[in-house]
Symmetry: D2
Subunit: 324 residues, 4 copies
């Protein structure tokens, strides 16, 4: 079976990672790549390592009216930029929206693939979770569904590599400005909070979420680590056990006895979770690691597309992390 | 006035930074440098940028019985390695212990220089705070003394550059292993917690401290950022105002309206503090940034030595941060 | 067809990269992993992203007398450490030696796979080129076989990421010492020079090679760039054309019109070559980029093993570079 | 004596480093800072570590007609952007042009301060050398004036940190694009070549220079290393001796027996030179290291200004390199 796929947003980091994964996917054939800032360039000019089989592709100007015959479209557009255009894509084309416009939007499934795979199977419109939510929710889900923590009192200290800020020309993300620099931002108001809160409420059976979320830019290219401070009286062993049960048979989740490191996930679709608890202090620390471009974006998107197309969800995603 | 100073632990990062600061200090003259792993080498072999005036120095084997005539000794030794030997240094030699053995030890003042300068003036034995405590306590002090937060419920998410792990041959701190890697460690049990807790109790008038402290290694050489989640109903403006009042006239503390970045402090003795609060959520986030080798080690040590010697505390510490 | 393979030197960077490639190779099954420093550990303890199908493996102590049934052994041992032990491996086991002990040794083919694939097909003992030689020789081969440059006057300015220095505990490769540092080393005497010289003489039909080779350590984990200054009167277009002809049909060589960047190759088995010439100045600059752990080590080793086993040489090596 | 100084180009990296050095200079008082992109901002908004004594300064729009009373103006403007405006600055104001518009221009001295200090003393218009020329010429000068190498056959392989590319929003200098990437550029045509060639001809007594110059961007913020391949029959010892004689009494030049590393110079005005020669191969390798923002820009500019003003040239430049 060959599934014809396209990518819009090929100039960005998410689009580029989608290309890398799709190029080696045994069932997907890339037939369309679009991106406004690079439209008209041969795809090989932007990706010097492009394989010969894709060397004929030219980057198109993004226009839903001129799509070729497609089975799946991966959309990796800036938040706010995709909704109107994607609405014009024919329903026969499955869409995974890696961008932020359709999370918990009507008509779109929320693609937290490792937690709710059955809700994605067979869907035609799936909104990929944000990168921070992916890391956070995979770590919290086993605790929430087992009532091991209070959903009303969760402090998320989140750290991301700089590719998470997206690609662009802002000098504050320049190498000289960013190397040897660690930057907190978005105090008390990060855009990912509502998505996290809504999902926590779903997972906890409707209890109101109380969240503090503080993101930090770390001088590295890829990787997210969330350190999440929760209230609860479970032991470390109980938390680990709950996670192992919850994720039994799930290929991409690794429950680790020791604190996970971002480099464990680089270049892969893996999601590491771990826990450290102190019942005497009513404290559960949950930790999650993903590659923000893998499980946090293109990896999860391919996993969602696999589920949407009825393929095994690991198809094309077996690559081990790149280390060192 | 020339004050004769020595450094023991010259092979480590803290000792090296002390050398850099002392070499340009107008009142200090370096006459002694000791370090076991490099004893016998010309100091210039280890520090290719050493100025001509110090080129005659040879690294000595550390032995308190063979000290030259000294006014001040800076000790930058691994925790656990310094107490016995430093006890044998004559009382006529002032000591600043950058290592961890004398914090809150009998006979030693605790050198949190920006908070309690008057307790250091004229002392002969001063224990430098740890790097994480320096960043943390400078940020928390104005809140604690003004009862703006609950000392019993403080979550410290701490991030440090890798020089904070000390110098040595452990391959887990190797470049290839550490670059593009973010590593949480010491969950629930970091060695700096008792020092922070004791100081919080002093600052809050005796209330018991309740702490969670989670350090993370960040792929950068220098810099500490602490993001501290507290409970309290003060506004952001009240916190900033309390800090500006508390630190009025203090040269090394910068109260910032925006979240501080580690690169603001690199190479300097500055300590940045900032706050973001949401009274409706009973939340105060305090942030602190220092250079772990500056205010977190050698810079604070020189500041303490200045106070001990009756010099203006800024002497030799006026250098601006290195940027970019 | 399932080919049973083993890796010795699993604790090092080269062994780790071999593991990553072999784990996803459709014809190879990893049944043996050995490494002295980690013997006895579950393989999954060292590689947190290990797939479930390999989770049963335990790292063995390296001993050729206790090998399981194997078709191919990848040896990634420090130079000087492998010859005696590998001599005891049965001839029925094909060996690719990623280490340096068998380059141009009797009974071993020299595995410069993109230049001389036919010399590797069907062999049982193949010595992988060094990482610098791989980058250098791929760039020079088309010029030498076409007599476009003087083999007696070649200046190679080589730059490598720090994983090229191997894994270990030397503090000079520590993160704090290495970040923001660029280090020339091995002036006039690098160990890779004889291998390069011998190969140049082969490629140029016996003319004596005259080489200057200067390696530099660059603060990055992976990647090699060689900038090679040669004497010749070919134009840039002639050099590019010669390379395109020479490498016609070769999958892993990319001839680039513009200077190649190390990140183009990261995580892949690709080798980029480019040229800039000025006939008026009798100057040809050849450039080569590889991932030192890919084409410079494990990638080339898998390619060699494919050829030795009669598989298509690209098998298991189709992964695109990881970017960014 | 208080010398009133100004900086134009305060938004760039060179201007920022000039600020850092001037702020601690005992004879200079900063009274003017201009920069188009940030005009109107308090200087403290751009430099969070600014000392209190400079906190009153506001960044001005650059206009030579509205200069305050100044003794020295440091101009750090993009090449091509400064000549017309600087021509309108009164002759009573000494100018050091850190930018590229006045190197070997009529009426401007060439400020290679460690080689020709006497040509700078008392001047009113001095053009700072480029960063690559500074590193290169300091290394070559002793060889050229002693006829130890052939000026007609010099290959310069130059490597720079990314701050050398200047500040701006070009995404190719973004952190994610640049980290783990090593990039050759400007093949055969770099803008610094004429300046280097002219100076080589001066130093060699008029012989024509024959140069190859290839710059590379290295993933680090600061630092330049040049590896220069020359023809000559001097021994290593003879080259080192020639350099030690040539630079006797010069404070900022360090002649090193071992290859210099960029981190030796970070944050300082030091310039390291070293040599490795093989007379049998008619080969002399010269190496030079500087901080591109120190000796390669603002450090050398302050040194030039000191000479222009009749101050000791080391005034305000005694800071040791920042390590690690």
């Amino acid at each position: 079976m060959t599934i014809l796929v396209g990518i819009v947003g090929i100039s960005g980091f998410g689009g580029g990672e989608a290309l890398r994964l799709i190029a080696n996917h045994p069932a997907f054939e890339l037939v369309y790549a679009a991106g406004d800032s690079t439209a008209g360039s041969p795809l090989a000019d932007r990706f010097p390592g492009l394989p010969a089989k894709l060397a004929h592709l030219v980057i198109q100007k993004w226009d839903p009216a001129t799509l070729p015959n497609l089975d799946v479209l991966f959309a990796s557009l800036p938040t706010g930029a995709s909704a109107a255009a994607l609405a014009r894509v024919p329903q026969t084309v499955k869409i995974v929206d890696i961008g932020g416009d359709h999370r918990y939007a009507t008509g779109w499934a929320y693609g937290l693939a490792d937690v709710w795979p059955s809700q994605i199977t067979g869907q035609t419109r799936v909104a990929n979770p944000g990168c921070f939510p992916a890391a956070t929710l995979n770590a919290l889900a086993p605790l929430l569904v087992n009532n091991l923590i209070d959903p009303g009192n969760i402090v998320i200290d989140a750290k991301t590599g700089i590719s998470g800020a997206g690609r662009g020309g802002d000098s504050k993300f320049g190498y000289a400005e960013s190397n040897e620099n660690l930057v907190p931002y978005g105090m008390l108001e990060h855009t990912h909070m509502p998505e996290i809160a809504t999902t926590i409420e779903h997972l906890s059976g409707g209890s109101a979420a109380g969240l503090v979320f503080t993101p930090h830019l770390v001088p590295m290219t890829r990787g997210i680590l969330v350190t999440i401070y929760c209230r609860g009286t479970a032991t470390t062993a109980q938390c680990l056990s709950a996670a192992r049960d919850f994720y039994a048979g799930r290929d991409f989740i690794r429950v680790s006895d020791t604190p996970p490191q971002t480099k464990w996930a680089t270049g892969s679709n893996l999601s590491f979770v771990s826990y450290a608890a102190d019942p005497k202090r009513n404290l559960v620390i949950a930790m999650g690691v993903v590659d923000n471009l893998g499980k946090g974006a293109a990896g999860q998107a391919v996993q969602n597309a696999n589920l949407m197309c009825g393929l095994p969800e690991t198809t094309g995603l077996e690559g081990l992390p790149v280390w060192p």
